[in-house]
Amino acid sequence: MSVRHIARLVAAKDLRIEWHSRVLTNQVLPFAAVTMVIFAFALDAEVVLERVAPGLIWLATLFSMLVLVQRSFAVEVDDGALDALRVAGVDPRAIFLGKAVALGVQLLVLEVVLLFAAVVLYRQTVPIGGLVLLVTTLISATCGLAAVGTLYGGLAAGFRGRETLLPLLTLPAVAPVLIGATRAVEAALGTAGAVVSDGWPWVGLLIVFAVAFGVGGSLAFGPLIDE
């Protein structure tokens, strides 16, 4: 079987587990929503909230992503499923790609919900002109986040109780995504007078990041989980 075919099977498996367990809808999305509400408590002024809303969307995404990644690998480690996959001779690149795709799909759902929350809570508007930029940004940022999350999730997965390591490794690594995606979404939503054309260089950054970590991750994942 080709890598692509196995990756699709792994992704489908992860999404099926997710669909049955409903962790995303019952725990992660409520967590993200609470985060959006407590940001408002911390920042306390409508003007400030309107100005920083795009950044808050991505911060909430990052925090929720940590939860999702831990969940994604807890499923693998609990019954030795990851070892079983390796014993079955499954290419680690396929596992990486499959899990990254499944994580990316969940992240996209999360981001759309958070964007909706920002429209309601932080008074954002989505102009039609910025829609293409917005969608491109969401997809490219999600690819980068999913690659980094899967890579470091796989590293931390071998060790039960090592979840504290994941944020330490992941957050500095995804700093470029936070910067780039925030600026691009600001441009797409027209926050603080930003214009749509300002956003495209940032999408370039996001794409380079996604490609670098996509390629680097699929190469590094094998040595990392092959214990």
Partner: protein
């Protein structure tokens, strides 16, 4: 701590580790003395001979520590990357220990750079921290290598540790340019004139330049000295993990076979330490 095999057991295992003298050798002692001399020079030139700056006044003296430490830290992380790559290539744990030792020292040096830089900033700019591209990248560099060191401390065999940290050490090389690029883009779009204008001041006083040179020499020597000791210290730790119990068991067996009551007082339990 080092293993001190002071028990006079004439066992084969114990004889192999003649590490009672610590991690020092003739070479490290020479480098150590040279480091002390160079540091003395740095103090003399940095605090004494070199003049104060027209704009920065006495604060300029902090730069004789600030600049060399970050240069050596970059060197240290380069060594870590090379050690990581060589480990994956050659599978020799020596490369892994070199990478780890270098990363530890590099991280400490970056911490020194950040602290000294913050003090310098307070004196010169009036603030400890400026959200400038270079400062932000350096802070993220520091956190990245703290993460690398945390990965090294995960449990597992030495080979697992080595492979895992080699991969993370190489990913850091991928990560740092991306972080640097994004942060520069971020600042260049949002801040027209940065306070770091002092960097444009290229015409440096000769004595100042010499003091800086002394600083680079002193911190390079310190780095080499620390890496040598730390690499050997790591070797001893690994050896203790691998063989400590065997050596202790062999020692106990030797006591039992000798069956001399007087010798049973040597309770050095290396394996459990």
């Amino acid at each position: 701590m080092t293993t001190t095999d002071s028990t006079p057991t004439s066992e084969r295992g114990a004889a192999e580790v003649s590490t009672a003298g610590g991690t020092g050798t003739r070479g490290t002692r020479i480098i150590g003395i040279a480091t002390i001399v160079a540091m003395g020079w740095l103090v003399a030139f940095g605090l004494g001979f070199s003049p104060e700056d027209r704009d920065q006044r006495e604060a300029v003296r902090l730069l004789y520590v600030h600049v060399p430490t970050i240069w050596i830290a970059y060197l240290a992380f380069t060594v870590t990357a090379i050690g990581s790559g060589m480990y994956l290539f050659r599978k020799s744990l020596g490369w892994d220990r070199l990478a780890g030792a270098s990363a530890e020292i590099g991280t400490v040096f970056v911490a020194v750079t950040l602290v000294v830089g913050a003090l310098w900033g307070r004196l010169t700019w009036g603030v400890f921290w400026q959200w400038d591209a270079r400062l932000t990248t350096t802070a993220l560099l520091f956190v990245t290598y703290v993460g690398y060191l945390a990965v090294r401390r995960l449990d597992g065999t030495h080979e697992q540790r080595a492979r895992r940290s080699a991969v993370i050490g190489l990913i850091a090389v991928l990560e740092i340019p991306l972080v640097h690029w994004s942060v520069r883009l971020w600042r260049s779009l949002h801040q027209e004139a940065t306070v770091l204008g002092t960097d444009a001041d290229v015409s440096m006083d000769g004595l100042m330049l010499f003091s800086l040179f002394v600083g680079v020499v002193a911190f390079s020597l310190l780095y080499v000295w620390l890496v040598m000791h730390r690499t050997r210290g790591m070797f001893m730790e690994d050896y203790l993990d691998d063989r400590g119990l065997d050596v202790a068991l062999a020692a106990r067996r030797a006591e039992a076979s000798a069956a001399v009551p007087a010798r049973s007082t040597g309770q050095s339990s290396e394996g459990t330490s």
